[in-house]
């Protein structure tokens, strides 16, 4: 730049030309890059948080008449889910007859519920046409086991077909009777899942045992008789439970309620089909908060209902945790040993440098490639061989020859191995030479130095690596889709049946849950808030893990900085 005049920086040199020449606009542009990146990050987190947290809030139910021009007026009873502006042209292309004079309409997304009556839970409505709005306190929303929510007014409560309460008393009666159903349901769940589940599991084991003996041609008459006797025992036990179950079912079917929906139609709903009922318009802020937290608790502790679109995500949380734990068991020793070898034992040179670069780059290999490897090598190759050797009695049904918890965690262990190796190596490299030399000078062997001095000092680094690995594994979905994750697992991988931990079982996973419910669900609109809530949970876990790892790493760095001086 040829400046004829000395440009005294700092002196107020106003004027657009000088400002431009100074490069100031460009600096602002780069600054804008930072601002936009941060805004995107914050905006994304805010979006997930707001939408995820809103899922549990009991929205008010509006009653009104939907008066679309040219159509019959229609009574409506619905929650307003969202509102947005839509141009007349877009509405027209969606098949609505709109007024030509008005260009912008506000469009509401209403949750009308009652899918069994209306065919769909949701409908769009134009704000202007929803008239005579009221918020009656007696409007009740019932969550059901099937067909989604029911929105209407409680007419009466019946026991074995006889009306026992009407009017205001009905609501009281409903609540007490609902509590009874909840207790019965708990009992039934225990019977079905735990007791009968156990018997089925044992029967299956006996069947496999017999088949195994048959294959080995060791099935003698007395062995067969012994198996049969055990089977008969279980069958008898099963009959007994079955009776209890039938009795419970009858007991539950006793009560029913009669409900009037918006259109005036009345329907009878057995209480056995109802999860809970609430009157959002009558709730105060504290009642709503209480409701909110009970819903949130249900979300993390309960099982999914209605093709995963309602209820909780407990099995997915459980599956994720199990998988991550198992993966940690695999990845930690191997990662640490590999790092120890590279840093402490191998001769430093071109080869170790190459290995280091290669390991580093494996972290950048797309995760789906690990999934492909896991499917081919673990599931089909190893699993297939294991089945032939150890589980021939179950064939052609695969035991380990199909995706499962073990293969999924092994696949993710390989995927996260580079993370652990790199972090551990970094920790080892930070230990000052003097510390090692002091230990050796005092007469300790190399192994002793390693075990007593180096490893304890680098343990926070390993911890960091492990946390980062866990955070990565918890969020991975693509490889898991190939090696054992399912949308709905019939049983948890850990239960009361010997051998307790079932490595061959398929499992549910938070990330896959998001994918599945968000994209494979038949009722996406209803499932969407649940997906946001799941996403929020996953993001929280992963960000916390990462922040924790960063903190551990920073503290470690400071510690060794002090040692170096």
């Amino acid at each position: 730049m040829e400046n004829t005049q000395p440009d005294l920086r700092g002196a107020q040199d106003s004027g657009f030309r000088a400002w431009w020449k100074d490069g100031d606009p460009w600096i602002w542009m780069t600054g804008g890059g930072v601002a936009i990146s941060v805004l995107l990050v914050v905006g994304l987190l805010a979006l997930i948080t707001v939408r995820g947290l809103a899922h549990f809030w009991p929205a008010d139910v509006v009653q009104g008449i939907y008066q679309a021009p040219g159509d019959e007026p229609m009574p409506v009873l619905a929650e307003i889910r969202s509102r947005e502006d839509a141009s007349a042209a877009r509405l027209k292309s969606a098949g609505l007859s709109v007024d030509d004079g008005q260009e912008i309409y506000e469009r509401l997304l209403l949750r009308v519920g009652n899918r069994d009556l209306y065919g769909s839970d949701f409908r769009y409505a134009l704000n202007d046409w929803l008239v005579e709005r009221e918020y009656p306190e007696t409007v009740t929303v019932w969550e059901r086991l099937e067909w989604g929510n029911l929105i209407g007014f409680l007419v009466d409560v019946r026991e074995s077909g006889e009306v026992v309460a009407t009017g205001d008393a009905a609501w009281e009666a409903f609540q007490t009777r609902q509590q009874r159903i909840l207790d019965l349901r708990k009992e039934m769940h225990h019977l079905e899942k735990v007791e009968i589940g156990r018997i089925n599991y044992e029967l299956e084991r006996l069947r496999l045992k017999r088949r195994g003996l048959e294959l080995d041609q060791k099935l003698t008459a007395e062995r067969d008789a012994a198996i049969r006797a055990k089977e008969a025992d279980f069958q008898a036990e099963y009959q007994e439970l079955e009776k209890q179950l039938v009795a419970l079912h009858e007991n539950m079917a006793r009560d029913a309620i009669r409900v009037e929906v918006a259109t005036g139609e009345q329907l009878t709903v057995p209480l056995a089909k109802i999860v809970r009922g609430y009157r959002p318009n009558a709730m105060g802020i504290f009642a709503k908060l209480a409701f909110y937290f009970s819903k949130a608790w249900e979300f993390v502790s309960d099982e999914p209902r209605e093709a995963n679109t309602e209820g909780g995500i407990f099995p997915a949380i459980f599956g994720t945790v199990m998988m991550v734990l198992l993966m940690s068991v695999f990845v930690t020793p191997f990662g640490v040993v590999a790092a120890l070898y590279l840093r402490e034992y191998a001769k430093q040179g071109f080869v170790t440098q190459t290995i280091r670069v290669a390991v580093n780059n494996l972290a950048g290999v797309p995760s789906i490639v690990y999934g492909v490897f896991g499917l081919g090598f673990f599931v089909y190759f190893l699993g297939g061989s294991i089945d032939e050797l150890f589980f021939p009695e179950a064939l052609p049904n695969p035991t380990f020859g199909t995706g499962g918890l073990l293969w999924a965690s092994l696949t993710l262990a390989i995927l996260t191995l580079p993370v652990v190796i790199v972090a551990t190596e970094e920790g080892l490299a930070r230990i000052p030479r003097a510390v090692r030399e002091a230990s050796l000078a005092l007469g300790a062997t190399r192994a002793e130095t390693l075990w007593r001095v180096v490893l304890p000092m680098s343990s926070p680094a390993m911890m960091t690596g492990l946390i980062l690995a866990v955070a990565r594994a918890a969020g991975e979905v693509a490889p898991l889709m190939l090696v054992g994750v399912v949308k709905l697992a019939p049983s948890l991988p850990l239960d009361g049946n010997v051998p307790f931990l079932h490595l061959d079982r398929k499992f549910m996973h938070l990330g896959f849950h998001i994918y599945d419910v968000g994209f494979q669900s038949p009722n996406v609109e209803a499932a969407r808030p649940l997906v946001y809530a799941t996403a929020l949970l996953l993001v929280l876990v992963i960000i916390l893990l990462n922040l924790f790892a960063v903190r551990v790493r920073n503290r470690l760095r400071e510690k060794y900085r002090a040692l170096e001086h």
Binding site: M1, N3, Q12, W19, G23, W26, I27, W28, M29, T30, G31, G32, G33, V34, A35, I36, S37, V38, L39, V41, L44, L47, S87, A89, S93, E103, F334, V337, A338, L340, Y341, L342, E344, Y345, V357, V359, N361, G364, V365, P366, I368, V369, V372, F373, G376, Y380, L417, T445, R446, A447, E448, R472, V477, A478, L482, I514, Y515, F519, L538, I542
Partner: protein
């Protein structure tokens, strides 16, 4: 061993020995474990390679047996094999159907078709449906069937039989030398070729509701005069086309016979140039393509396509050359794949695959003077017969003929397509489907996704990195850097879900606003700078240097909001109130809700932290004395940045871009969820695509282990692996060089 032993050097105590042993053990253990882990990692690559490599192996043929044709001494007309490859069937001119053991040639059963035959034809090869023309001019429909039984435990016994669905009498048509028959649920068409004419008979078929009896009504019986000699007649399985071929004059007559009563000559095609005679013809599996072999060894594939006037014309699609330039004595077709073999008199057999244009094998048979042959239903046995009725049986190992370099990457002319195309379509409902394994559209989709992601991510990430490393106040940097970096750990499934369910509808609703926002945001930055520059000093002094992003937050938010607010008015005025529809109607640009723009934004967001983090490190690592020297010489900070800092850090920035690119290429969940996953080749930003990784995720679970499809998906995985590995290694090497450069500065 709890306390360090104070052993003197001269005596070696047992404890010292133990310690020494433990030390050696630890060394051995760690070395073994470390090398084991590294080996396991290398295993990934070799395992993928091991699965993929069989795709590129040629076919192999192993002779199994050789014997004189079993059964009668009359000339053979037809050979077939059952599915297990154990039993063979020979039909000879005296009307004998001889079932024999393929490995030994011993006759297991001889059945008679009742009369001497002049021709045998395949009606439906999958079901073993055949038809024969007797010397007296009647056509007999029969099926060869096999029953598997295990009378003695695991030993398999195959019993063969013939069935006559329309009785053993046959349909009286005419005497002749060649025959073509097709039979479906509602139709039966028979064509008998005599010297200079073709007799065509059609029946309507109906099944009685009461007793499942089949009733046939004749709907047409015509004789088609042919100017040349009738050497071969072929009817397609849909019974729409009748091809009559005159070998000597190399002429083909294509008749439209959808109404068998009124056949229409659609066209006459010259099969070869320069009057080279035709020597053989037949139909490929699937019943669409016709193959003709010329005397000079050229084999040509034809199928009918519509021309510009909407008329069907036989199109010459591709040709194959016999390696020795010899005329084929016979063409043999595989039952379900588009593979075929040619035999010639010198005993040479060549195995081709039509779609991939590959010659998968060329082998000298144990016998010469070959005249006839057959491939078993599973294409694992080949039977050839010589003029002296010698038979040779061979085992065929030809698992992946569909794959060639051209089939994977080139334009291929698939059946029923107007022109050669790049297509990926790995499966369909019917078994006769021609698989389309072009990786081009998938690779194109991968690069398209990466391109749009980088288009969004690179400017933001680099600008952000440069500012954070060079201009930003240290206090702010300590907050900003971890904030952006933590996003690297954000599960992509969440980004994909937001992109597909929130961003895609949002963009569709605010399309003009999105484009306005780009302009507004870019303008807002220098504008804010200009206003700030002219702001009163009292205000300016309150904010320390390097806090520009903080000042920019509010203006940027306002600019974004303004763009969204203006979206609907702009759409109303310029785009008839609905921009996606306007694009489709006025500009002819397709608009998918889940399109490349959505993926570009979402995946760009995923890539920003990667690029940002590495580039920021590179810029921050530039030795301070360089920039201070530049500033001291009177350069402005911006000049110093552009002329000194960025050139020094450029290798690091380059490696950041490479690693970001690697991440964008391999990303699966975002593209899986935010596009429609249609494998198209179109650069339109408003349309979707399918990437290699998403394709694996979609198709791998349904793929049969060991099949061609399975191995191709592994190949896609290997391609991704190699691509990212090479990219990352390069980036890593560049980064290490840079590090040593910095330390020397």
């Amino acid at each position: 061993m709890n306390q360090p032993a104070a052993a003197s050097l001269s005596e070696i105590t047992p404890r010292a020995r133990l310690r020494y042993l433990l030390d050696r053990l630890a060394t051995g253990g760690v070395t073994f474990g470390g090398l084991g882990v590294i080996f396991a990692v290398v295993l990934i690559f070799f395992y993928l390679l091991w699965v993929v490599l069989p795709l590129f192996f040629p076919a192999s043929l192993t002779p199994l047996a050789q014997y004189l044709a079993p059964g009668s001494a009359a000339p053979s007309l037809y050979y077939a094999m059952e599915e297990q490859g154990e039993q063979g069937l020979r039909i000879s001119a005296d009307g004998q159907a001889t079932f024999f053991d393929l490995n030994s040639g011993t006759v297991s059963q001889t059945l008679s078709l009742g009369a001497p035959l002049t021709a045998v034809t395949e009606v439906d090869v999958h079901r073993g449906n055949l038809a024969a023309l007797t010397a007296t001019g009647s056509v007999v429909r029969f099926d060869h069937r096999y029953k598997l039984s295990y009378p003695k435990g695991d030993e398999r016994v195959i019993t063969a039989r013939l069935e006559f669905p329309y009785g053993e009498e046959g349909f009286a048509v005419a005497t002749g030398q060649t025959l073509a028959v097709r039979d479906s649920d509602d139709k039966l068409v028979i064509a008998v070729g005599d010297q200079q004419s073709v007799h065509l008979v059609g029946y309507r078929k109906s099944t009685s509701f009461l007793d499942d009896a089949i009733q046939l009504d004749e709907v047409g019986r015509v004789t088609l005069p042919i100017t040349g000699k009738v050497d071969q007649i072929i009817i397609d399985p849909l019974m729409e086309w009748l091809y009559v071929i005159d070998y000597q004059r190399a002429q083909l007559y294509a008749f439209w016979i959808k109404q068998p009563a009124t056949p229409r000559l659609n066209e006459t095609v010259g099969l070869t140039a320069d009057g080279v005679p035709t020597v053989a013809a037949g139909m490929l599996a699937g019943g669409i393509s016709l193959l003709t072999a010329a005397a000079d060894g050229e084999i040509t594939q034809w199928f009918p396509i519509r021309n510009t006037e909407g008329l069907y014309r036989l199109q010459k699609v591709r040709s194959f050359a016999d390696a020795q330039g010899q005329a084929a004595a016979a063409l043999i077709f595989e039952e379900s794949r588009r593979s075929f073999a040619t035999l010639n008199r010198s005993g040479d057999l060549e195995l081709f695959h039509a779609t991939s244009e590959a010659r998968v094998a060329q082998e000298q048979m144990p016998i010469s003077d070959l005249v006839r042959g057959s491939l078993s239903p599973r294409a694992d046995r080949l039977l050839v017969e010589s003029g002296e009725r010698q038979i040779a049986v061979l085992e065929v190992d030809n698992p992946h003929p569909e794959i060639s370099w051209k089939a994977l990457w080139g334009k291929v002319w698939y059946e029923n397509y107007q022109e050669p195309e790049y297509l990926w379509q790995s499966s369909a409902a019917n078994s006769d489907f021609e698989p389309k394994y072009s990786l081009s559209p998938l690779s194109f989709g991968t690069l398209k996704a990466a391109f749009y992601a980088m288009l969004f991510a690179v400017p933001l990430a680099l600008a952000g990195a440069v500012f954070t490393a060079y201009f930003m106040a240290p206090g702010l940097r300590q907050i900003v850097k971890p904030t952006i970096e933590v996003m690297e750990a954000l599960p992509t499934v969440i980004l994909g879900f937001l992109a597909g369910l929130w961003l895609a509808p949002f963009i569709e609703n605010y399309l003009p606003g999105i484009f306005l926002m780009v302009v507004f945001l870019i303008l807002a930055m220098p504008l804010t700078g200009w206003i700030w520059f002219n702001a009163p000093a009292s205000l300016r002094n309150r904010v320390p240097d390097g806090w520009q992003p903080g000042i920019l937050v509010l203006p940027l938010l306002l600019a974004g909001a303004a763009a969204l607010l203006l979206s609907q008015p702009v759409e109303m005025v310029f785009f008839d109130g609905n921009m996606p529809q306007w694009l489709t109607n006025q500009m002819g640009i397709n608009y998918d809700q889940r399109n490349s723009l959505v993926v570009g934004l979402a995946m760009g967001f995923a890539v920003i932290p990667t690029i940002f983090s590495i580039a920021e490190d590179a810029v921050f690592g530039v030795p301070k004395h360089l920039s201070q020297g530049s500033l001291a010489l009177g350069a402005t900070p911006w000049q110093t940045l552009i002329r000194v800092v960025i050139p020094t850090a450029s290798p690091g920035i380059f490696s950041a871009l490479m690693i970001g690119m690697g991440r964008a290429v391999g990303e699966t969940m975002i593209v899986l969820m935010a596009t429609g996953n249609t494998p198209i080749m179109d650069f339109n930003i408003f349309e979707g695509f399918r990437t290699l990784s998403a394709n694996i995720a979609v198709e791998m679970p349904e793929s049969e282990v060991g099949s061609t499809h399975f191995r191709i998906l592994f190949l896609a995985g290997l391609v991704l692996f190699m691509f990212t590995f090479v990219f990352n290694t390069l980036a890593e090497v560049i980064r290490q060089r840079l590090r040593s450069k910095y330390s020397s500065l």
